[in-house]
Subunit: 300 residues, 2 copies
């Protein structure tokens, strides 16, 4: 049986893959590249790239190098969204993963530009998947690119961030529908794109991609509900950020809507269903299943 | 001889093309879509999409519908860069094209998200160029997508914006090299991508694409130098923004580096060379030449 520790070897491995796509720190805009790289290098569990890679392995025994550009791209999108989310006009957070946020270190203007730079770099990186003469891989690459752009966009992740902020500002009425919209878009959409792209690049058929979308939705929502729970029950040392900031920011969370006990139950139900789906495919990936379990039962 | 007026018929035509790619204003994140559409609809000369389309016509007599997605994408990228540029932490502008800027109307958080949304939507839109079973067009589409992402990115436009801000803050020593870096990246890079993509989609060969890159660089730098000149010599009514804001913001401009007379001369020299290049291709496009002339000799 595989034992998982979130600080383990594989995070280093993912970081090496990502590092190859980051900008050199040179020329007139040097502080921009420093801010982009600082944002990318401050810790992070690398959940999205590892889910992408492990989902690929769930459907293919071939070399997974074909995933590298998309793995980096998806982490860049995740990171830019955090950099902009932390800005004073948004959540106004000074710490993230125990480190000072980008705008605290580099100033607001550079943080805005670093976020823009990372989002654009994500697409510069993702389209490298089209660098192939193999028409089968080209078709998969186009399909993967579409999923990435759709899930990250204004009808995906950015739509979720917006609803989150509108709810915080009391401009949307709290409801279960709104809670699931926020968690489903702000968090689950990018997890979906990670796992769907892993499947697509490995040649999974449409039916299996739809199953992956469902499993990833559950994982994303459960992950976010766990986040809501940890914001109430965790501690600074584990989380690397202040506790209770959700309440302070008037965030709409699973704990507020359901209470702690119900939120815990929901996390369980969602994760059990997700793992059942992952176990239903012809190939097995024990590491992926353990990873999903550890993400959902995490303390940080 | 064609007479050009920047408020003419073709701006409406371009706006109709772009409108087809903008988001419906519905659902929880409705204010986001409103802010995105507001940003896209506030005037604008639509220079980049029209240059793309007319450069296509310079190399092909075929239906230019294949350009539409890229035309919209490039205007979205231009627009998002303005929305973020206008933010309080950046240039802190309240007016743009005579209208209130996005963050003034929708607030800072929504302006940050609307900018992110437009940048992402640009790629969602641009990759529609890959929706083709024609392998020749697919190859052109991939090439066009790479140019778009590179020119818009941290080694392109965003790099230029960064150098601009660092110069404003006195963190970079004023020099001709820096001035041309800023104008070449902040402004010319996106003009280059417009004209190069027009050529690529029309099947222009690499030698001609390189010529287009040179012509577009000249047009972009001349356009920006003209902007610098107008900031000193124009008026609010024509420009739709306050005069003298460059000096107020400590911007590094062509007028500051060269003086008005030299800046005028430079605009002339760059535009003459650009038009010579445009006239050197086998096909002629009188409209494109007049357009370039009008852009560079403009009063607003």
């Amino acid at each position: 049986m595989i034992k998982l520790n979130l600080n383990e070897e594989w995070i280093k491995r993912i970081d090496e893959i990502i590092a190859a796509f980051l900008p050199e720190e040179e020329g007139f805009p040097k502080p921009l590249y420093e801010a982009m790289n600082y944002s990318m290098k401050t810790g992070g569990k690398r959940i999205r790239p590892i889910l992408l890679q492990e989902t690929f392995k769930l459907f293919s025994a071939e070399n997974d190098e074909v995933c590298h550009a998309m793995m980096a791209a998806i982490e860049m999108i995740h990171t830019y969204s955090l950099v902009h989310d932390d800005l004073p006009a948004m959540d106004n957070d000074e710490y993230r993963r125990g480190q000072k946020t980008t705008h605290i270190v580099y100033g607001e203007a550079m943080a805005i530009l670093a976020g823009d730079g990372l989002l654009n770099l994500a697409y510069e990186t993702a389209i490298k998947v089209l660098n192939t003469a193999d028409t089968v891989m080209l078709t998969r690459g186009v399909k993967a690119l579409k999923i990435l752009a759709e899930k990250a966009g204004c009808k995906g992740m950015i739509g979720g961030q917006t609803a989150d902020i509108l709810a915080e500002d009391g401009l949307l009425e709290p409801s279960d529908e709104l809670l699931y919209f926020i968690h489903g878009h702000k968090t689950a959409a990018l997890i979906q794109s990670a796992m769907m792209i892993g499947g697509i690049l490995a040649g999974a058929d449409d039916e299996n991609i739809a199953k992956l979308a469902k499993a990833a939705y559950n994982i994303g929502v459960a992950f976010q509900l766990q986040d809501d729970i940890l914001d109430v029950t965790g501690n600074f040392q584990d989380l690397g950020k202040p506790i209770g900031s959700d309440a302070e920011n008037h965030k709409l969370t699973g704990v507020i809507m359901k209470g702690l006990a119900e939120a815990h139950k929901e996390v369980s139900a969602l994760s059990i269903e997700a793992i059942e789906i992952l176990n239903s495919f012809p190939r097995q990936n024990e590491f992926l299943v353990k990873l999903v379990e550890s993400l959902i039962c995490r303390k940080k």
